[in-house]
């Protein structure tokens, strides 16, 4: 067992990077990620982490430096938020194309303008097709554990893809809560250094990146698609291996909660899941048969597990903490798309909420369950329940 | 008239892409629907380049490169040794090659008519391009007009004047010169 400490979600990331003995960190400061890199800088300065911390001049450079260090075999880590992640967009594709197992902590934050430093999933949702594994966390413990898992499944020979571990701004990043910090020797056993394939070595001919014409590029992209499909098994195996060693697991891809005999299930991501557990318990006590499903791994998208939700209830809602202009929340669109292909056709609703740090309080979540259960499904498919409108005086 | 598909083979700097464009303009002047585009690859002086033209009476909707050409035009004879220029050519089509050789001695099998013209000599005679890099496209198009009868030489000359950046008269003269000098073998070459 490790040592129990009261730490923020950001420090949980820093501890995970230290325990993973990362070789090279390259990062640029952005609220609310800053205390991650400050803590890492402290570890390096105090000699507690033998790593090269490259203080770059932009997030774009932060990820390129990681990719180049990874290209010669180093274990690399970085962290960012919002605008920084958007600036990395070009390099996010590059990482997957180069098959670089970079691990990145992302503190989910709204995108400008207007400036907003508060939580919102738009930044990482906008990167869902770049070839990065994406895991959304609900607690600081989950952040630390998932980061340690990420190094392992990202570096597996059959995966070799980059991974994002996300945490909600302030609700996790700056929230102090008890976290078990594993012992270094246990993590060393968990993350042994294995020689990596397809890297550059001094004295050996080889070009990483290259140039492909129409006759071969598609086949090459397919090999990345295969790796992401392979990541499904790798993530579940890693979670099982982690549980056997550290005695903790965080719900795999999709974790149903009290869905037995449910009339309605709400799909949630990030810290909204915790609050929603409270609401489900209180509604159950009032005899209302509701449940929730924590959607934890967003890439690779857990289509099989999501389709199984259709067997749990006839009405399924999705709480999107982001919104795609022109239709709806990305999480809803992918859940709905998957269910449309399944045998059962549940009534589907998208609830847009919590943008820009707006609190997702129990009453607001309860309102979503009410909307799900009311009527015979003639209401709007995509709604913003907690919108402040003058006429409703809310 | 079905959609006529023409594939040009040349090297960077020899004017294959402009050749496809001139041909399309010429056919357009005769009221045809046209489409011309290059295979955009590593354009380097000297590197093999491919360009395409489609000509038809009805609207052209295909948005693909041309893999079964009715007509293959080769601006540089050296390509015959290195690039499969006649790959996928429809039987009974036309192969036009810029070479000193006569059609029967082109040296590659072709199920269709073969025509040859020494466009390099004609271009050099009309001062087009440099000794190391003669610009042969307009001469080849003159030969094409005669060998294919798809467009009239007058349309080709008019299109040349709209498309070439300089030396309009010399380019027009080279096309007319090649129109006269092209050699066309009637029967299929084994």
């Amino acid at each position: 067992m490790g040592t129990k400490e009261i730490v923020t979600g950001n420090y949980a990331q820093s501890y995970a990077a230290k325990l993973a003995r990362v070789d090279v960190i390259s990062a640029y400061p952005i609220t609310p990620q800053t205390t991650i890199v400050e803590k890492i800088a402290e570890f390096v300065a105090e000699g507690k982490l033998d790593a090269d911390f490259i203080k770059v001049e932009s997030e774009h450079s932060a990820l390129q430096a990681c990719l180049s260090a990874s290209a010669v075999g180093a274990r690399t880590y970085t962290a960012t938020s919002s605008q920084g992640l958007l600036l990395m967009h070009e390099l996010l594709f590059w990482a997957a194309g180069q098959r670089a197992p970079v691990v990145m902590g992302v503190v989910n934050r709204a995108v400008a303008p207007p400036w907003s430093i508060w939580t919102d999933h738009t930044d990482t949702m906008a990167q869902r097709d770049t070839g990065w594994i994406q895991v959304y966390c609900e607690s600081n413990q989950e952040v630390l554990d998932t980061t340690l898992m990420a190094f392992r499944f990202a570096e597996r020979e059959d995966v070799r893809l980059p991974a994002m571990v996300t945490e909600d701004a302030f609700y996790l990043s700056h929230t102090m809560e008890s976290v078990d910090i594993p012992r270094q020797d246990e993590v060393d056993a968990w993350l042994p250094r294995r020689p990596r394939s397809h890297i550059l070595e001094i004295g050996k001919i080889g070009r990483l990146g290259s140039f492909m014409g129409p006759d071969l590029y598609m086949e090459f992209r397919y090999t990345i698609a295969q790796a992401m499909e392979q990541a499904r098994r790798a993530i579940l195996e890693t979670e099982a291996e982690f549980e056997s060693r550290f005695k903790r697991s965080h719900g795999g891809f999709v974790e149903p909660y009290r869905c037995d005999g449910a009339d309605a299930v709400l799909v949630t991501m990030g810290t909204a899941t915790s609050t929603a557990r409270e609401v489900v318990d209180s509604l159950r006590e009032k005899g209302r048969k509701v449940g929730l499903a924590k959607l934890r791994v967003f890439r690779p998208f857990p289509a099989k597990e999501v389709r199984e939700l259709a067997g749990l209830a006839d009405r399924i809602g999705v709480l999107d903490r982001s919104y795609g202009f022109g239709y709806g929340g990305p999480a809803y669109l992918e859940v709905a798309g998957t269910l449309a292909g399944g045998p059962r056709k549940p009534l589907l609703r998208d609830f847009i909420g919590g943008l820009g740090g707006r609190d997702l309080t129990p009453p607001v979540i309860e309102g979503m369950f009410d909307a799900l259960l009311a009527g015979n499904g003639d209401g709007d498919e995509v709604t913003w329940p907690d919108l402040h409108r003058a006429e409703e005086g809310v | 008239m079905p959609v006529l598909e023409i594939r040009f083979h040349g090297r960077g700097g020899q004017g294959s892409v402009i050749a496809a464009e001139i041909l399309a303009r010429a056919a357009f002047k005769e009221g045809k629907n046209v489409q011309s585009f290059p295979f955009f690859g590593v354009e380097r002086r000297g590197a093999p380049v491919t360009a395409f033209s489609r000509i038809s009476d009805r609207p052209i909707r295909l948005r693909t490169s041309i893999t079964t050409p009715d007509i293959v035009i080769v601006l540089d004879p050296a390509l015959l040794k290195t690039v499969p220029v006649t790959a996928g050519a429809k039987p009974g089509g036309l192969l036009l090659v810029n070479t000193e050789r006569t059609p029967d001695r082109v040296g590659i099998p072709f199920d269709g008519r073969v025509a040859t013209v020494d466009a390099t000599a004609i271009a050099t005679a009309h001062g087009l391009g440099s000794p190391t890099q003669p610009i042969v496209n307009t001469a080849v198009l003159g030969a094409f007009a005669k060998a294919s009868a798809v467009v009239r030489i007058e349309s080709v000359v008019a299109a040349i004047k709209e498309s070439v950046p300089a030396k309009w008269d010399e380019n027009a003269a080279a096309a007319e010169d090649a129109y006269e000098k092209v050699l066309i073998a009637t029967e299929a070459v084994a």
Binding site: R99, R207, D215, L216, E219 | R11, G46, T132
Partner: protein, 93 residues
């Protein structure tokens, strides 16, 4: 030896990792003219070797330059820079 071009998913190594040296395939077809070295004038000063952008000039056992015709693109730099004017550019047959 020209290598069979890669085509299938199964041909793709586990990453965009290229290791085939380019000198396995020639670029001779690029030229319309080629350098001819007149050894009687050549002083073996190796200027032609030094300035070749295609590394297409090597040396024979006595140190005379030899044009590697598989790779020469016929740019003419060697002829232009040759001090004793021992190199002329001839049209490719």
């Amino acid at each position: 030896m020209t290598r069979k071009p890669l085509r299938y998913v199964e041909d793709i190594p586990g990453g965009p990792f290229a290791t085939v040296p380019t000198n396995e395939e020639g670029t001779a077809g690029w030229r319309t003219i080629r350098p001819v070295i007149h050894l009687e004038k050549c002083t073996r000063c190796n200027v032609c070797w030094k300035f070749c952008p295609d590394v297409a000039i090597d040396f024979d056992s006595e140190g005379f330059p030899v044009v590697l015709l598989d790779f020469c693109k016929g740019c003419g730099i060697c002829a232009n820079e040759c001090v004793p004017k021992a190199i002329t550019m001839e049209r490719e047959e």
